[in-house]
């Protein structure tokens, strides 16, 4: 099975102190460290596991600049066979629909059976997967927590629904799926692999290579524009219990039950 995983590089939330810049319209990016968007990493792991079972290859693609090659190499160290960078000055400032348009251009150049995305970007809004599927006229399923390959170009997929229950469906290939974290345990990518992946070639494609009309991408085509960041006002402090240990335990259980936290 030929699988394409769309990935994105984001500021690593566990290793940064995210602060707003003085203008208040973006976060302070000077000393940020970036990593692959976590759900995307799960998607790559899932693709690798599928290929390990049924054969085929895994390609990872991102829209961005040279800086974003870092995550492609990381996923290649993880086991992805190909990494592709879609980059063009004209792509700068694209909104979700623009990104989906660029990706669609790339997908149409290849012959992919399955396209995976993370459930959402940590700094995004879970838009691209669905739009990409619509543009390609492929079926789309989201929030997946398991994938099983069936005979006859079909997959059995499931997602978690309210109350921890599972909803199981079948979907025809080719399709676009968005992957939830927890679907697997992504393998560790060691420094040795990352170093070895430094010398791997990463082909780049621009707007003309992808036959993407310039009028459909970039800042000028974006119909969604970020106008502000807002930091919520700190709410009231926590409730402090001041009894003995036994009393507090009882009180906590009572409060949890009253708020629906305990059944």
């Amino acid at each position: 099975m030929e699988i394409l995983v769309c990935v994105r590089r984001v500021p690593d939330t566990s290793e940064n102190e995210i602060q707003l810049n003085s203008a208040g319209n973006d976060i302070e990016r000077d000393e940020l460290v970036y990593s692959i968007n976590e759900p995307d990493n799960y998607a790559v792991e899932e693709a690798l596991q599928i290929v390990a079972k049924v054969g085929g290859s895994v390609s990872v693609v991102t829209v961005g600049s040279e800086d974003d090659e870092e995550i492609l190499r990381r996923e290649m160290a993880m086991g992805a066979n190909h990494g592709i960078l879609l980059t063009d000055d004209a792509f700068t400032g694209s909104d979700g629909r623009g990104i989906a348009t660029i990706l669609k251009g790339f997908v149409q150049q290849g012959n992919y059976d399955l396209i995976l995305t993370g459930v959402q970007a940590e700094d995004g809004g879970a838009q691209v997967g669905g739009m990409l599927a619509a543009m390609l006229d492929y079926p789309f399923a989201s929030l997946l927590t398991s994938i099983e390959v069936l005979e006859g170009k079909k997959l059995r997929i499931s997602r978690e629904i309210e109350g921890g229950n599972k909803e199981i469906s079948e979907i025809d290939l080719p399709c676009v799926l968005s992957i939830q974290t927890g679907i697997n345990e992504p393998r560790y990518v060691g420094m040795k692999g990352i170093r070895a992946a430094q010398s791997l070639p990463i082909p780049t494609y621009g707007a003309s290579d992808l036959r993407v009309a310039l009028s459909t991408v970039g800042e000028s085509a974006a119909k969604i524009k970020r106008v502000d960041y807002f930091v919520p006002v700190l709410g009231k402090g926590a409730k402090m219990l001041t009894g003995s240990r036994e009393e507090n335990v009882e009180k906590v259980a009572e409060l949890l039950a009253a708020q629906g936290g305990l059944k």
Partner: protein
């Protein structure tokens, strides 16, 4: 019957058996040679291990640990017994060969053992056989009646080895009886003939048998002589050929295992022997994944294990109920070797060890404290094997999720917490500290004599920052000219390496090495034993490094540090040896001397101290790992301190302090037990001159003593 005839008739018994004896000799020797050759097959397929250097140092090891049985007295009963058996075997070895040869050449006498020397040797061997026999009886009783807990085999690790152990003991006992009976029959016959019988040592086993046999008719004696010989010969060869299938193979392998044991105990095994760091990139697979990835010496370790259980008896992970028992790391590998390298047929199958004979949790459970290696009488190595197995897991991406985040953070931020680099020196800016005790950050313009290498936990952890500040104050007090690397310092990588991420360790090491060299310092000091061990043994080309406890002890002796008496007479202190300061670097006395120099400080020792110290639960990445365990290792340690009658645990390692302070809470001993770092305690007790001068002068005080000295010299 005439005397000469009697002995001649005995000899004729042996002569009659000539053909049989020769046949058994040849069969026994050929079988043993074949078995050993088959046992060598995996060793020849194993990884390299460069252990053929420094023969003198290796002979020294043999004299101390093999001939001298150095580790044995650590277990009094079993140890003493083993020393007696070992001594007996050494004495009896030559006799055994003489007896074997006598069967096919009746008048053979071992060169050098004719005449008087021979008599003395015979008396010695008579007693040796007796002692060995008694030891066997005692050992069997011990196994059957007293059942020491450390010999038990938990169900998860396989079947009990007790029957096999007892069978082997019985065989040795039979060997001793057969040998003695053979000798006694001859002596009894000689006595009957009125000859001067070969002297047998009073009350020894041969002597007792001789007394029993003396009234027997000569024909019976002849039969006893013959059957004694035959039983001895058969038992000898059976044992020889049976031992390579179980726990007694060490009788043959121990000499080699000790000779080839690790000489540089403090250095971790390289990924591949004979391949330098620069060429490591070309090595396809790291670590041990299949049995054949072990080095030949590590396989010899597996063969040599005597199953005595001392390693696991001392292992903190095992004590806490983690799924690791070092003994079974060895036993399971040996069982694997026996199964997949059988006596006949196809060898090896190349299956992954982890997931087959080992579990991932088992391999991640080790704290690398070294208690197992400190105990093993045969010098079996464990840490290198665990690290090699981890290297294999890392290489395949099999890393617990709990460790992936800190490893990734170490890669991008140089510390496992994912904190910003610029905050690494934030501990120096604490209120009430920065002003009296400014700590300089070293760079091109700002040099110093000594680098204080802080490392990650002491830099970033709120509680441990107190150790950093205490260390800085002490350095300042004794007039050291020191500084820190600040944002340029990255994690020492000590645990990164021990968790098997060799390439990431190399990146951290190279970064720090460059930063340290650029700082132009002469010496390094640290309050973290893990950083100390890394800088001392894992890094090359950096200035000499000291642990703060060594520096304090020296300055106590020099008189620069004087202590105020401790407050509170109800406090009883005990010192907990951090593994990487104590066992791995033999710094046991300095911290104790410092404590004993504090007036009024009452100190007790825990039962498990010094090289038998009990790990706190593990440092570095082990703080992130979520082990499966019944009780925290640290809680066990805190209980040991309470048992010793202490209510203050002093340690000299930030990880120990973190684990022990947590364990005090978990054990519900808050308020009854406290923990403090040696640097903190020192700083708290230092007697400062009452001159109104601030504790830490604003100016770099370190230059003052130097200038004074120079001024004195000029005068």
């Amino acid at each position: 019957m005439h005397g000469i005839q009697i002995t001649a008739s005995l000899t004729s018994w042996l002569t009659q058996g000539y053909g049989l004896f020769l046949f058994i000799h040849l069969l026994g020797a050929a079988s043993f040679a074949y078995i050993v050759a088959r046992r060598l097959v995996p060793l020849l397929r194993a990884e390299r291990d460069l252990r053929f250097d420094r023969p003198l140092a290796r002979m020294g090891k043999v004299l101390k640990f093999w001939m001298g049985q150095w580790k044995h007295p650590r277990y009094k009963t079993a140890g003493l017994m083993h020393i007696l058996i070992f001594a007996g075997f050494i004495l009896l070895a030559m006799r055994a060969f003489t007896v074997l040869i006598v069967g096919v050449s009746q008048n053979f006498v071992m060169p050098g053992l004719s005449g008087e020397a021979g008599h003395v040797y015979e008396v010695l061997t008579d007693y040796a056989a007796t002692v060995v026999f008694l030891c066997m009886v005692f050992a069997i009783v011990r196994r059957v009646v007293f059942k020491p807990a450390r010999y038990e085999v938990p169900a998860k690790f396989g079947k009990a080895h007790k029957a096999d152990a007892i069978f082997l003991l019985v065989l040795i006992a039979i060997l001793m009886v057969a040998d003695s009976g053979f000798e006694a029959a001859k002596a009894a016959a000689q006595m009957q003939a009125g000859e001067i019988a070969e002297f047998s040592a009073a009350l020894s086993l041969p002597w007792l048998l001789k007394m029993l046999f003396v009234s027997f008719p000569v024909s019976t004696l002849g039969k006893l002589y013959f059957s004694g010989y035959l039983l001895h010969e058969i038992t000898f060869y059976f044992l020889l050929c049976y031992r390579p299938f179980g726990i007694q193979f060490h009788v043959e392998t121990s000499l080699f295992n000790v000779y080839f044991s690790k000489l540089d105990k403090n250095r971790l095994k390289p990924v591949r022997w004979g391949i330098s760091d620069e060429h490591l990139g070309q090595v396809k697979s790291f670590g041990v994944k299949t049995f054949e990835d072990f080095t030949w010496k590590h396989m010899l370790d597996f063969y040599s294990c005597a199953d005595c259980g001392r390693c696991s008896d001392n292992c903190p992970a095992n004590a806490a109920g983690r799924p690791l028992s070092p003994r079974f790391i060895t036993i399971k590998a040996r069982d694997y070797a026996f199964q997949h390298y059988p006596m006949f047929g196809h060898s090896g199958n190349g299956r992954a060890l982890v997931g087959n004979i080992y579990s991932e949790d088992e391999i991640w459970s080790c704290t690398t404290c070294g208690a197992c290696e400190a105990e093993c009488p045969l010098l079996v190595e464990y840490i290198d094997k665990i690290v090699d197995l981890r290297r294999g897991l890392i290489d395949d991406g099999n890393v617990p999720q709990s460790l992936q985040k800190p490893l990734k953070a170490l890669e991008s931020r140089g510390n496992p917490y994912g904190k910003m680099e610029k905050k690494r020196a934030e501990w120096t800016t604490a209120k009430d500290f920065q002003q009296p005790c400014p700590v300089k950050t070293l760079n091109q313009t700002n040099g110093a004599d000594r680098l204080f290498f802080v490392d990650s936990i002491t830099s970033y952890d709120n509680r441990m920052q107190s150790i950093a500040r205490a260390t800085a104050r002490i350095l300042d007090h004794v007039g050291e000219d020191f500084g820190i690397l600040g944002t340029l310092e990255k994690d020492s990588g000590h645990e990164v390496r021990r968790f098997g991420e060799e390439t990431l360790f190399m990146v951290l090491r190279d970064h720090n090495t460059e930063a340290i060299k650029a700082a132009g310092v002469q010496r390094i000091v640290t309050a973290d034993p893990h950083a100390y061990n890394a800088l001392k043994h894992d890094y090359t080309g950096v200035p000499p490094v000291e642990h703060i406890s060594q520096l304090i002890a020296r300055e106590v002796k020099s008189g620069k540090i004087k202590f105020n008496p401790v407050a509170g007479s109800d406090k009883v202190y005990t010192y907990h040896d951090p593994c990487y300061l104590g066992r791995h670097n033999q710094v046991y006395d300095d911290p104790r001397e410092v404590l004993d120099a504090i007036p009024g400080l009452r100190r007790v020792e825990m039962k498990r101290s010094r090289d038998r110290s009990f790990c706190c639960g593990g440092g570095g990445l082990m703080l992130f790992y979520e082990p499966k365990e019944e009780e925290r290792i640290g809680v066990k340690r805190v209980r040991m301190a309470a048992e010793a009658g202490a209510n203050v645990i002093v340690t000299a390692c930030p990880f120990c302090l973190a684990n022990i302070e947590d364990a005090i809470k978990v054990a519900g001993l808050e308020g009854k037990m406290a923990a403090i770092d040696l640097a903190e305690l020192t700083e708290q007790q230092i007697a400062r001159a009452e001159t109104g001068v601030p504790a830490c002068p604003l100016e770099p005080s370190s230059t003052q003593p130097d200038m004074q000295e120079r001024a004195i010299a000029r005068r």
